[in-house]
Amino acid sequence: MGSFVYDFVLVTASPALLWFRPKKIYENENAKKKVRGGALMISNHNSMVDPMYLMLCIWYRRHHYVCAKELYSTPFRRWLFTQFLTIPIDRENFGMSSFKEITGRLKKGDLCVIFPEGHVVRENNGERCSEEEGGDPGESSDESSGAPKKELEKKSPMLDNLKSGMVLMAYQSGVPVWPVYVRKDKGFFGRLRIAIGEPVDVKALLGNMPTMDRIEEVSRMLGEKENRLKALVEAGTRGRNKK
């Protein structure tokens, strides 16, 4: 049932969403390959509409978004997000059942998407501000409701402290990690840009039974890759603005 609603909405909304289709920038030739089989996609998290852009970017696959369980706060929201194939996790008390749900889907050949910064980090003119951690991510998008704004914490301009759980998920399920970077500030008539990196074979990098230091190292390496994608997409935007 979930898949039917997901596909129905994607197909019927596609013509209207064409306006929002992102422009893809690839890191290299390997990044141009289609995402096939089990894969874990990681992305920066600018806003609550990032999933929509990512779905338009990799339109030929169903996406399973890993999201905070707070998104399921009402029965309607629970129903809605279930239809959109999300996988809720408890950020305060992460359970093995959630971990196994994600790795199970990856092993089955599904595409899962995770935001490894763990929360929305808004980006405007190169400045990055994180919303208070542990807050309700559902509320964070609701800017027009008149609800009091959350306190913003200024962040480093680079993506850092990516949670290394993503590495463990990819390692356990033996699937590649696809890093992508979404650039939010596009202007009204401009097209949003998404940089796609080449897939990283975490299993090959880590070998058998890695230490935690090695897992953290690969996590930092993926963070650096995200930063390179950010530089790539910003260089492309500057080039476009000069013309």
């Binding site: 408890d90 305060e92 008390n93 992460f94 359970g95 093995m96 059942s97 971990f99 196994k100 949670k163 290394s164 759980g165 463990l168 356990q172 039974m209 230490t211 935690m212 230091d213 897992i215």
Partner: protein, 86 residues
């Protein structure tokens, strides 16, 4: 059937395997030692530890959260109970 002490020793071996740099400190740990404050485990480190425990001991941790375990003794008790229940 493993005793509590044997389970605790095996757990310490797993922790040393995860963080070989801390082996001396881990060896001195007791059942009362905190997983986070004494053994220095992050949440991801805890998940990794549990993945190895599941393989080594053949017990499932499906219905618990990482926050349910504060000390090494908590994990020992969980494994002991799971083993008893078969």
């Amino acid at each position: 059937m493993l005793t509590r002490e044997e389970i605790a020793e095996k757990l310490k071996e797993i922790l040393i395997y995860q963080n070989p740099g801390d082996s001396e400190r881990i060896k001195k740990g007791t059942e009362e030692s905190g997983l986070i404050d004494y053994f220095g485990l992050s949440s991801v480190g805890m998940i990794y530890m549990i993945i190895i425990i599941e393989n080594e001991f053949g017990v499932s941790f499906d219905n618990v959260g990482m926050g349910d375990f504060k000390t090494l003794g908590d994990v020992v008790s969980y494994i002991e109970n799971a083993k008893k229940q078969g």
